[in-house]
């Protein structure tokens, strides 16, 4: 008897959300739409112009995160000094009110970075489709949800129809097996995967992460990994849900309770890739061979081990790549062949949707405890949400950071993209737990080195890029 071919996790989520096919495109249903102040004003304006409503305000949640200041949030939006940012925040306030959308405003303890808030509230659940006008929406894939970033026109489309039009992507599996060496974690896995795939290599794919090293990761680690999937060009990353996922979800504000929990749980358990599923491409990495990693250039694929030297120009194969590398070295103020650990840092940023969750802060605090930030370094911690901040304070982590000389700030996207007043100055070098080292990303002419929270903590103490293993 002919048997149906196996399906990947992505195939299963896709199939279970198909509404219709139209003109060769699929219309698929969106279970959760997260919105924020920066990529929605034009979408609501479009709705108004076309006299359209929001189809499912109850499946939409709004936060204020991209341009909020990271101090004085209790003073309210009226006190935001930047006039344009204030107008944008006020526009969101008006839009959510007009359309009846739930909103965690700036200063609300539940507010924070959209990709921290969704999971923390239990809104993000396995088997869901999730979108947000932000490329790092891939984060939510850590729960086995198909989560992707969309543009503002598509935000308007989802508001109006609760669906998205798309053609299906291909399936790429990244398997990471083995035991990591001490000091290495999810951020290093992600950077290793991006180095392997390249920033465009994942274009047209959805990536599923599998293997024993992935299974061993906490939900925070899986979120870091899925978050960075977009830096490999893939719109979505996935980790199949398991007991770690269910343990994380149990008891959160928006997760089902009682009999509904049992019902949801048995549904969630159907979301895994079948053994005989077809993969269009496969990559296998050995966790034991991944060292603590940092970026040296201006693309997230510019990855080396902390013990390495900056690559020589003749190691780049195409003229385009060589030109980009040359430009990157000049921009970064580095010389080919120099040990990366010689690079002195001016700023250390622990935060962003990649690495601002409680586990990230605990890990960094462990390195920082009883030590002092180097004199010339400005170091800051920006928790991912008000709840993360409160939890960290309950555990006394704020005191550890403050005693060492870190700033302890209020939640938001902050210095990851520097839309708010937190910026890296021209020519300054920043050890950052964020996701993009693009030119000017953290401030005009600022120089970003991406790394894990423990590596950033080590850099803060040493005053230069440093191997966290010295502190273990």
């Amino acid at each position: 008897m002919a048997r149906m071919p196996g399906k990947t996790l992505y195939d299963k989520i896709w199939d279970s959300h198909l509404v219709a096919d139209q003109d060769g495109e699929s219309i698929f249903y969106i279970d959760l739409h997260l919105i924020h102040e920066v990529t929605t004003p034009q979408a609501f304006a479009g709705l108004r112009a076309a006299k359209r409503g929001v189809r499912r305000p109850d499946r939409t949640l709004a936060v204020a995160d991209h341009n909020v200041p990271t101090e004085g949030q209790a003073l309210g939006v009226g006190a935001v000094a930047d006039e344009e940012a204030r107008l944008q925040l006020q526009t969101l306030e008006r839009n959510v009110k007009d359309y009846g959308i739930e909103f965690f405003p700036m200063g609300d303890i539940r507010n924070g970075i959209v990709h921290v808030v969704g999971p923390e509230q239990g809104r993000t659940q396995p088997g869901m489709t999730i979108v947000c006008g932000d490329s790092h929406t891939s984060t939510h894939g850590a729960f086995g949800a198909l989560a992707q970033g969309i543009g503002t026109s598509e935000v308007e489309h989802v508001l109006a129809t609760q669906t998205l039009r798309q053609k299906k992507s291909k399936n790429l599996r990244v398997t990471i097996d083995g035991e990591p060496i001490p000091g290495v974690g999810a951020k290093d896995y992600a950077l290793a995967a991006i180095r392997e795939i390249g920033t465009a290599g994942g274009t047209g794919y959805v990536i599923e992460y599998a293997g024993s090293a992935i299974r061993a990761l906490s939900m925070e680690g899986r979120m870091t990994l899925c978050n960075l999937t977009i830096e490999a060009g893939a719109r979505a990353g996935l980790v199949a849900p398991d007991e770690t996922t269910f343990d994380y979800l149990r008891g959160r504000p928006a997760t089902p309770k009682g009999a509904a929990w049992e019902m949801a749980l048995s549904y969630w358990k159907t979301f895994f890739s079948d053994d005989d599923a077809h993969w269009d491409r496969e990559i296998v990495l050995d966790a034991a061979r991944i060292a603590p990693l940092v970026t040296w250039g201006t693309s997230p694929e510019d990855v080396i081990a902390v013990t390495d030297t900056v690559p020589m120009l003749d190691s780049f194969t195409t003229p385009d790549k060589r030109a980009s590398a040359e430009r990157a070295l000049e921009y970064m103020g580095l010389t080919a062949g120099q040990p990366i650990s010689e690079a002195k840092v001016d700023v250390v940023f622990i935060g962003s949707c990649t690495n601002s969750r409680i586990e990230d802060l605990r890990a960094a605090a462990k390195i920082v405890e009883g030590r002092t930030v180097a004199d010339h370094v400005r170091a800051m911690v920006v928790p991912g949400s008000g709840l993360v901040r409160a939890q960290a304070e309950e555990e006394g982590l704020d005191e550890i950071f403050l005693a060492a000389g870190f700033e302890w700030r209020e939640p938001g996207c902050s210095m990851c993209l520097a839309m708010n007043p937190d910026k890296v100055g021209p020519g300054q070098r920043c050890a950052s737990t964020s996701n993009r080292n693009f030119e000017g990303r953290q401030g005009r002419a600022g120089r970003t080195h991406l790394m894990s929270p423990v590596m950033a903590a080590a850099a803060a103490i040493k005053g230069h890029i440093a191997d966290v293993r010295e502190f273990l």
Binding site: D23, A85, F438
Partner: protein, 203 residues
């Protein structure tokens, strides 16, 4: 959305790989609540120095490329942030078509929402076009109906494009209006979903 059919315009070369949307339109221009007026921020850090002075060497600042309607750039154009401000800024500046070997997914998709045509050519074709764009004659013809780019010297490069996307761009169709034709199917899906996954209904 603006329709795109055929374009006769100057082509400007940008021989860099991985041009990300932060470079196309830096963060300080994302605080707007409008779609229009973003031309001022396009490639801001490439066009202007730290004091806001024009960098005369940057291709779009050079007089021979004034009014360029087509860009030819290196691999993986538009990577990074999902900001639709990137195609808005390009369009507002007068760019209606970008040619590259590859585009990042979200940017590529955003282009089609706005009538900005992303054209994918083979590496050697992009290289040839890049070289010609650096020469004395900068006029190209991009014909979406015929799926061709005719270079300044008259070479014709054919490109592939998804037929549905092509059709919509030729006509400037509104995706929301089209999807709403299927509103009945969305209703049916929602009813089924409410039965299958009731816990999602009482959030």
């Amino acid at each position: 959305m603006d329709a795109f059919t055929r374009l006769d315009a100057k082509i400007a070369p940008l021989p860099l790989a991985n041009i990300d949307t932060d470079q196309i339109i830096p963060k300080q221009f994302l605080k707007t609540v409008e779609r229009e007026g973003l031309a001022k921020g396009l490639f801001y850090d490439l066009r202007f120095d730290g004091d806001g002075k024009v960098k005369p060497d940057f291709v779009l600042n050079r007089p021979e490329y004034k009014g360029a309607g087509v860009l030819v750039a290196g691999d993986n154009f538009g990577c990074g942030s999902s900001r639709e401000h990137a195609p808005w800024a390009l369009m507002d500046f007068g760019i209606r078509c970008v040619v590259s070997t590859s585009f990042a997914d979200i940017f590529y998709n955003n282009c089609f929402q706005n009538g900005l045509l992303p054209v994918v050519l083979k590496a050697e074709e992009v290289q040839a076009l890049m070289e010609e764009a650096k020469g004395g004659n900068h006029l190209v013809t991009v014909d979406l109906e015929a799926q061709t780019v005719v270079s300044p010297s008259g070479r014709t490069f054919a490109f592939e494009i998804d037929p549905q996307r092509k059709e919509k761009m030729l006509k400037g169709l509104d995706a929301i209006g089209e999807t709403l034709e299927k509103a009945g199917d969305i209703d049916t899906y929602e009813m089924k979903r409410a039965l299958d996954r009731p816990w999602l209904e009482d959030a």
